[in-house]
């Protein structure tokens, strides 16, 4: 059971929700992309439904809400440390099925892979999710093959249709709020993509032995190690720590945690001056195998959710889905029957 809301109805709902929640959704930032006159779609706070970009895929994912690109963990003086206040309100995040599946991957790394991470937990505990119905895959999506096209367990669902906005919630409190601002009750199940234009196959028996395949050498020169694929990825979880001493007074400063990219120089720098995976193709191999090989060995499912953002954002037109599809031949090559 669900509800149909008019534009003014849903805006009233959003207004009421914003008393308790900061509303995050994919937003269009006019002229906010790399090239002049090109919009960027990324997550930001919204107050009305027309701000939610439903027609295009976001260039960057919801991940930034749970894992800020740069997060000050605490400020320090000679004697004390002080934590900045975290978000007062809960977050209500509008996302598609692939991204909802990415939340599980982030949780896996930050909550269940050893001791829970306090900074992640703090934001995650007060985060609820509204699924955006996804009727049609975009040109680079491959969610179906990664098993992330259908989502369950969301707090509410939302879909824009020709005759208004459809919402539902399995939770009484949210459902009542939606009903209060709705035009009428109606059947509503959010749309899920059933087929994608891009198909991928992760080969059975994929192992780290594929590291010796010749395909990675192609990316030594093609890849520019910019890290866009990692920053746009909803499941990349790596970070670096920075202790910053303010210039005016070198005795006070802050500790920051910033998103890190395994493609960018410096990622493998270690004390004593060591640095590993110098070749960009080796970085590509490391990333690929994390997404579709070793994560699965540990947690039982693939890290990659098939959103295709890495394909969309690569300035060198390197397609990650194409890399996945090359792994079969690469395995044959290293197994000596290629």
């Amino acid at each position: 059971m669900g509800y149909r809301l008019t534009e003014s109805g849903i805006n009233e709902l959003l207004q009421e929700l914003s008393k308790d929640y900061v509303l995050f959704a994919p937003k269009r930032y006019e002229g906010g992309n790399t090239f002049s006159g090109v919009d960027c779609i990324r997550y930001g706070e919204i107050t009305s439904v027309d701000e939610i970009e439903t027609d295009a895929k976001s260039d960057y994912s919801f991940k930034e809400i749970l894992l800020p690109l740069s997060q000050t963990l605490f400020y320090f003086t000679e004697d004390d440390i002080k934590q900045p206040q975290s978000r007062q309100k809960s977050a209500l995040v509008f996302l598609r099925s692939c991204d909802f599946h990415a939340v599980k991957r982030l949780d896996e790394i930050y909550l269940r892979n050893g001791a829970p991470d306090a900074y992640y937990s703090r934001l995650r505990e007060r985060c609820r999710f509204v699924l955006i119905g996804c009727p049609k895959a975009f040109s680079t999506c491959y969610c179906v093959d990664m098993g992330t096209n259908i989502a369950e367990g969301w707090d509410a669902a939302f879909e824009k249709k020709n005759d208004g906005f459809y919402m539902s919630s399995p939770q009484t409190e949210l459902a009542e709020l939606i009903q209060k601002h709705s035009a009428n009750e109606t059947d509503f199940t959010p749309s899920f993509v059933a087929e994608t234009p891009v198909k991928v196959t992760v080969p059975d028996g994929l192992s780290v032995a594929v590291a010796k395949a010749s395909m990675w050498r192609e990316y030594d020169s093609r890849c520019i190690a910019c890290g866009r694929c990692n920053f746009a990825c909803p499941t990349c979880t790596c970070f670096s720590m920075q202790d910053v001493f303010y210039q005016d007074n070198g005795k006070v400063g802050e500790r920051r945690r910033v998103q890190a990219s395994c493609m960018v120089d410096g990622f493998t720098d270690v004390a004593g001056g060591g640095s590993y995976r110098q070749k960009n193709g080796d970085r590509m191999r490391f990333k690929t195998l994390h997404k579709v090989c070793d994560f699965k060995k540990r947690f039982g499912y693939h890290m990659c959710v098939g959103c295709g953002r890495c394909d969309d954002i690569c300035p060198e037109y390197i397609s990650f889905s194409h890399i996945i599809n090359r792994l079969g031949d690469a395995m044959k090559e290293v197994n000596g029957n290629g």
């Binding site: 002049s36 260039d59 740069s70 890290g227 920075q242 120089d265």
Partner: protein, 320 residues
């Protein structure tokens, strides 16, 4: 054969080496042309020319081999091109009303090029609309970014696109791409301080390399499009020289005002005995002094508050 060559040239035809033959010069502001106009050009070249066209250095087209007596027929055939490009005209069917102010040329701009900071063709057409028709010898060129592929520093007015980079520190992951690309491809205006980029406003040329290479949208473009206006470059015999920096971070309206003001200045001070009424603006400024020129050029110009004006202008180049 009796023909008024002054009128012929004003009508955008050329006196050529071949006696009794001319060439028709077609203006294409910004160098961008709808292909539906190409058949008309072909028709003129095949019917009245020698079956060839020349792509001029100023991005116009020239149809050579036309007989003087065919000029009225060529003017009639030029009409769909003139109307299609929306070139201002005195009366339909009479061809071009002036040729002194040259075609406004431009690089391909942000309709295609990733580096360009604005729509060069669009602004070229706006400028054309503000200055044409005019008999005075003005050369204006636009380029999308400080790479200056359009070589605008060889023109009276060179317009170089800029963006004022905006930095959102909360989106910076300290990857260092902005610093590296600025250092290697531009002017090295960025230094890393406490893992974050620090942009020197003085050094920055507004090329946007930091924005283009930022993987996280920490660097974005300013909503406003800015320009560097460079002045009075020229090729030629006596003293070829590159245009010099005049205003950094100016806007399109100010540029158009400065150009139209310069027409008033040239009308006042041009050498009345200049052959063909044609004298490079730079030589006039050499005569009157820069301060007198700037008095005219800056009349009623309202620059954006961030604009930086060079107070002293010195041109170089060889003196022959």
């Amino acid at each position: 054969m009796d023909i008024n060559t002054k009128k012929l040239m004003k009508n955008a035809f050329r006196v050529t080496k071949e006696r009794g033959h001319t060439a028709s010069r077609i203006r294409i502001p910004g160098g961008h042309l709808d292909v539906t106009l190409l058949p008309f050009i072909q028709e003129i070249a095949q019917k009245y020319g020698n079956g060839t066209i020349h792509i001029t250095v100023r991005q116009g087209l020239e149809i050579p081999g036309i007989k003087f007596e065919d000029i009225p027929k060529v003017n009639a055939l030029l009409q769909p091109i003139i109307s299609g490009i929306a070139t201002r005209q005195e009366a339909p069917g009479t061809g071009y009303p002036a040729s002194g102010t040259r075609n406004v040329s431009a690089c391909i701009g942000n309709r295609v090029c990733p580096y360009a900071c604005y729509d060069t063709t669009g602004l070229a057409q706006r400028i054309e609309d503000a200055v044409y028709p005019n008999d005075l010898h003005f050369k204006i060129a636009l380029t999308g970014c400080p790479n200056d592929c359009a070589k605008v520093r060889m023109h009276d007015f060179g317009i170089i696109g800029m963006t004022l980079p905006q930095f959102d520190s909360s989106r910076c992951a300290s990857c260092g791409a902005c610093e590296r690309y600025c250092r290697k491809k531009s002017v090295g205006a960025i230094s890393m301080v406490n893992n974050r980029p620090n942009r020197s406003a003085q050094k920055c040329v507004g090329c946007g390399e930091c924005v283009i290479n930022c993987p996280t949208r920490a660097w974005t473009r300013s909503k406003e499009q800015y320009f560097r206006l460079v002045l009075l470059g020229r090729t030629g015999k006596r003293n070829p020289r590159l245009a010099v920096d005049f205003i950094k971070w100016t806007d399109a309206d100010s540029i158009i005002k400065i150009i139209t003001n310069t027409y008033d200045y040239v009308k006042e001070y041009i050498d009345p005995s200049a052959p063909g009424g044609k004298e490079h603006i730079g030589y006039i400024v050499d005569r009157t002094g820069v301060q007198e020129y700037l008095k005219w050029a800056m009349k009623d110009v309202k620059l954006p508050s961030c604009a930086e004006i060079e107070q002293t202008l010195y041109w170089g180049g060889p003196q022959y």
